[in-house]
Symmetry: C2
Subunit: 201 residues, 2 copies
């Protein structure tokens, strides 16, 4: 398969690439790294990316960031950062991707643990993750031409332990291999509309 | 208790009011109906509403609308309608409400069935609902002064059968009483961070 992996340079993206690159042609995409550069916050940049890749069999997204901070001090603008920089770019990858994904292909998005096992200050992230999980569930029944759509929702990664030091105490830190299996299942498997939770391993 | 019910004129809001009005003082709020008028899409209108009500013990929200339509034809702007008119107004009710809800009080938001049992054309609604469910889960751990926050996620209401005729075939249509029990449990109960699903009854 020919597979676009957006956010391929991040911890989750690297886990996805490792799981798929031995068997497939990967086009890695990042803001400043990878085979192609794209700014997912800009829909024109998404369109340019697809024009560059041409037809593919799968699109994997492992991007997104947002605001962390106490809810009582949170502004609406801070709340919306996760919507604008994690939810909407991944939704736009789908909305703009229909003409570029071959029949029977798939979209795989990334949400995360914080809408089921939150940490302090994660209300905005929980909303963005929940939106992604809800989106793939409902989008799946609308997919044309046998296209599938799923979401990988990993626990915090072992690879991100230092970066998030202290924020995820008590959370199991999952391996690249465990996260990679979920992306493999999403891309190479048969399910659709699923939230593939990676809780252990 | 003194309870604000926003969207009190809608099907879900009416079910909430019916369940609570015998035991509590209800301040009903609607765009064009109710004890107070407010436009929840406008944060200044939310602030004016709270200044008018003064301190309360609970805030119940039963508002929201969005775009329904085939995903392949959906624009990003259409997708975002549910975010801007269902998710963000309810989040703003919380963000702006901290100074007005008494210690130990509660916020109760409304999501819906479409992020777990979608119908065709409901991808945007599924995202908005999932965001609300994820938000309350994560927001609950950030709540100060013993405040609680939950979300009622009802199946389609019997009261809305004619309005949505044909769209929810095969879905159980829940009664006002069943929906009202969930709001009662959210407001008068003790749980927090929960999605109170109303599937039958």
């Amino acid at each position: 398969m020919k597979i676009i992996v957006v956010g391929a340079g991040g911890a989750v993206g690297q886990a996805a690439v490792k799981a798929l690159e031995a068997r497939h042609e990967i086009i890695s995409v990042g803001r400043n790294s990878g085979d192609l550069h794209a700014d997912l916050d800009d829909v024109d940049s998404i369109r340019a990316m697809y024009r560059e890749t041409g037809k593919v069999d799968a699109v994997v997204s492992a991007i997104g960031h947002g605001h962390f901070g106490a809810l009582e001090q949170m502004t609406a603008e801070q709340f919306m950062l996760g919507i604008h920089h994690k939810l909407l770019p991944q939704v736009n990858l789908v909305l703009e991707g229909f003409d570029y994904v071959n029949d029977g292909g798939s979209f795989t998005l990334t949400s995360g643990v914080l809408n089921r096992d939150p940490i302090r200050g994660s209300a905005a992230a929980g909303a963005a993750n929940g939106a992604l999980d809800g989106f793939v569930c409902a989008a799946a029944v609308d997919m044309p031409r046998g296209l599938r759509i799923n979401c990988v929702s990993p626990e915090v990664l072992e690879a991100s332990r230092e970066r998030y030091d202290g924020f995820f105490n008590g959370h199991y830190h999952v391996s690249d291999e465990a996260v990679g299996l979920a992306f493999s299942r999403a891309v190479e498997g048969c399910q659709t509309g699923q939230v593939l939770i990676v809780e252990f391993g």
